[in-house]
């Protein structure tokens, strides 16, 4: 993946084989729309937008063939700020709308931008079905563990006991683990990254963009107004090395400045142990292509409530035929090549007919 960051231009055999490529080099500026960005100063969304604007020219697709579809929430303003095609739709429904678009337009690179409330609460049904179908969509879930736009209610990813305007005595809901949910929904590509790490963010965006089928990316995003510091433990230079697991395909999974901690098989899944206590051969070597989703699921379960041992990077990336390509194949297979008017004539006259003179 580290190569992906430096490499420029679309690679063959990826999600956008059918998407027209840019003929001249593009710049980040071309992808900035003329709209004034209206997030709160300091919001993590700015960093994600900047990373995206920087990444899209690198992707090398025609700007007009890129489309962002969003739902409702702070993150869902994203499409307004990119000079591509875009639709700011309604709460939770972006995956459904994007499905109709992606299925009928293989020449587009379709992205969904959503948040923890949008994707996991009101739109949960559409998210899981888009993932199981493996529609060629890139779904970016900005998880800030709070409702921002409605001014601070707890969200489906908020920790139990969260004190908010709607939960003065603490929330009582158990939260979702978005990656576990996506894996349970048969997602073929599941990744996580952080707003503050542009390099990592960009590498994950590229991997997602290239994945054929639904790519699910959870982006930890700081809401400095209503849930400031939610991911501080993963960002603070003091704590982050102890807390973050940076997954790299083909490399042993370790953490800590000196790789003091290692991931090994334990019980039914995976666990983190002190490296000194294990045979290096027992340290799990990350393989994002493992067919059995229980491996990626075990990775998704590593962090505790304190976010220690949070894996970032691509947990799972497997090949599975995409919904839209199969739908298109059926259309091609059914096509008779007859002129459509003549074919319609045949259809109307099918079955038992009679003539009155």
């Amino acid at each position: 993946m580290s190569e992906a960051i430096t490499e420029s231009g679309p690679r063959p055999g990826t999600a956008f084989d059918l998407v027209p490529k840019a003929t001249a080099p593009q710049t980040a500026k071309e992808f900035k729309s003329d709209q004034e960005v209206r997030w709160c100063p300091g919001c993590g969304d700015y960093a994600i937008l900047a990373a995206m604007q920087g990444f899209l020219p690198e992707l090398g697709l025609k700007r007009e063939n890129i489309c962002f579809v969003s739902g409702i929430g702070c993150s869902s303003r994203f499409p307004y700020y990119l000079d591509t095609y875009g639709m700011h739709s309604i709460h939770g429904r972006a995956p459904a709308i994007a499905t109709g678009l992606a299925v009928s337009r293989p020449d587009l690179s379709v992205w969904v931008v959503t948040g923890d409330g949008d994707a996991l609460s009101i739109g949960g049904n559409h998210l899981i079905h888009a993932l199981r179908r493996n529609v060629n969509l890139k779904i970016l879930l900005f998880n800030n563990r709070i409702y921002g736009l409605t001014k601070g209610q707890y969200s489906p990813t908020s920790e139990v006991g969260k004190l908010t305007k709607s939960t003065p005595m603490g929330s009582v809901d158990w939260p979702f683990n978005p990656l576990s949910l996506a894996l349970g929904a048969e997602a073929s590509f599941v990744a996580r990254t952080i707003d503050s790490d542009r390099k990592h963010l960009t590498s994950v965006l590229r991997a997602a963009a290239e994945h054929e089928g639904s790519a699910f990316v959870e982006i930890y995003q700081n809401c400095n107004i209503f849930n400031d510091g939610a991911f501080e433990v993963l960002k603070d230079p003091e704590s982050r090395d102890e807390a973050l697991i940076r997954l790299v395909h083909g490399e042993p999974i370790t953490m800590g400045k000196e790789a003091e901690w290692s991931v090994v098989r334990t019980g039914w899944g995976l666990g983190v142990v002190e490296s000194s206590t294990v045979d290096p051969a027992d340290v799990v070597v990350h393989d994002e292509t493992v067919a059995d989703p229980s491996y990626a699921f075990s990775l998704s379960r590593l962090p505790g409530l304190d976010l220690r041992h949070t894996p970032i990077g691509v947990l799972r990336s497997v090949k599975r035929p995409t919904y839209d390509s199969i739908v298109r194949d059926q259309l091609t297979e059914a096509s008779t090549g007859t002129e459509s008017g003549a074919e319609l004539e045949k259809l109307l006259h099918s079955g038992d007919t009679w003539t009155i003179l």
């Binding site: 875009g86 639709m87 459904a96 559409h126 009679w354 009155i356």
Partner: protein, 630 residues
Amino acid sequence: MNESAGSSAKQPGDKQIRQLDHVVIRFAGDSGDGMQLTGDRFTSETAQLGNDLSTLPNFPAEIRAPAGTLPGVSSFQLHFADHDILTPGDEPDVLVAMNPAALKANVADLPAGATVIVNIDEFGKRPMAKVGYAVSPFEDGSLADFTVHQVPLTSMTVTALEELDVAKRDAVRAKNMFALGLISWLYSRPVESTIAFIERKFASRPEIARANVAAIKAGWAYGETTEGFAVRYEVKPAKLPAGNYRNITGNTALAYGLVAAGVQARLPVFLGAYPITPASDILHELSKHKRFGVTTFQAEDEIAAVGAAVGASYGGALGITSTSGPGVALKSETISLAVALELPLVVVDVQRAGPSTGLPTKTEQADLNIALFGRHGEAPVAVVAASSPSDCFHAAIEASRIALKYRTPVILLSDGYLANGSEPWRLPEISELPDLQVSYADGPNHTLPNGEEVFWPYKRDPETLARPWAIPGTAGLEHRIGGLEKKDGTGDISYDPANHDLMVRTRAARIEAIDVPDLEVEDPDGDARVLALGWGSTYGPIGAACRKLRANGHSIAQAHLRHLAPMPANLGAVLASYDKVVIPEMNLGQLSQVLRARFLVDVVGYQQVRGLPFTSTELESVFEEVVKNV
């Protein structure tokens, strides 16, 4: 059924043939008895003879309701005639009852003098007791007004199939085909097409095909030889306009209309749908026509179904979603989004009896209010209603035309009766169909004061008020749309109060600007003072009632609204030109209320919500009352 005098004739087998001008037959049995298939086949035989016809299937919501019970009765009514007819008939002249439940559930609908053919094998003590016949109906005098034929359908079918190598169970199941053979003989319908149909249907199970064919032939032979049926009937072909015909149900016609709209617009069709009675057949039918570039998406729910259709429309396809009332309620927010986005969208509502799950297999037209008003904010859409099964084809094309030309959601109203009912359809020439082609935006449409050429996604066509349809993939037109209020012209987000006021009024004006034809009034006498006005599937019964009234020397005018939003420009003048306007509806007066509010006319409403269409007799007496009192 009127017999024409002196038209009896002898024929081989010593059976008389009598001419009738029309007949109403109802087949009734358990939901597992194959009554819908029997009715369909009889309909097909009748259609090929050139009779005009109209059908009314009526079945329970349960797939296999408990056998032998009243709620489990499924029936199929067919009205056929030697002249053009408008309804499936008020009262059956003939009832075929496969069991006691079928007799009990239907006998009350029979007029004196009707013929009843029962499968006597099923009239044991227990099955009779199950539906409350303490005494056999053949003994208690309750059938005294009818001519009753007690035919051992089951046992004769089993006997007829003895020679064949079929299981007893399969033989028993073929009794509906025996009944079909008998009734086909009785009304002189050829069975060859049914035999061919069965051989096709059971091609992979030849023994079942043989059994069913043998049962049909045995039923026919029984009619020819038994003393029980001394007379055979004929109904001559109807004098319908020249052309090629086929029989068609509303759901099939509607699906064909959507395919045709795609062809005529030269656009791919995208249907998003979630299974729901009675609309699912539209999904099934369209799924078969991928060769036209029709994509069908069975969504995870009603909301996703309409959402995907909006997404496809945004991408340049003709986006459609099909559903029934509960689904329309769920789609409401997304339809409002499409109102704001100003994209083409056809929402098909095959109405059923509500609220909630209601009577899912029964008809009603109580979704007019939700179609006209069921959205948040000021969110006007166009509303089109089909008036007969075959009209569903043309209504679907009209709904698509409006959606594409004006870039608006259009709600297309059908209902359970139209969906499953059928009638002969004179097939249109493809060249008669309207051209629905529209073009996508392909370049800048506005010049800034500094001379710069730009694209404004909400700059409207001055005539249609439609905004340009600029689809992703078009270079130079990159823009963002969304549910937030947009600035007139540029489409940028705008919270400006005056702009919002302008946009709300413009969206309303855009719907009002849709080109709908004037309302046509039929008043053959030219002096009617009463207008019978309807919309949707009441067209048939209203028309039949008006004909009866005129035949009795009264004048009455009839008009039918295809466009409910916007309404025809001459509607107010038409309403004002009659002393009384009477509006029958299968709801509690939704159209009446709209017309009263809009035109300040004191319309006379007449309503029923029994889950069945109006009968023409019922409307005749309602109209007569009004006509006599003006």
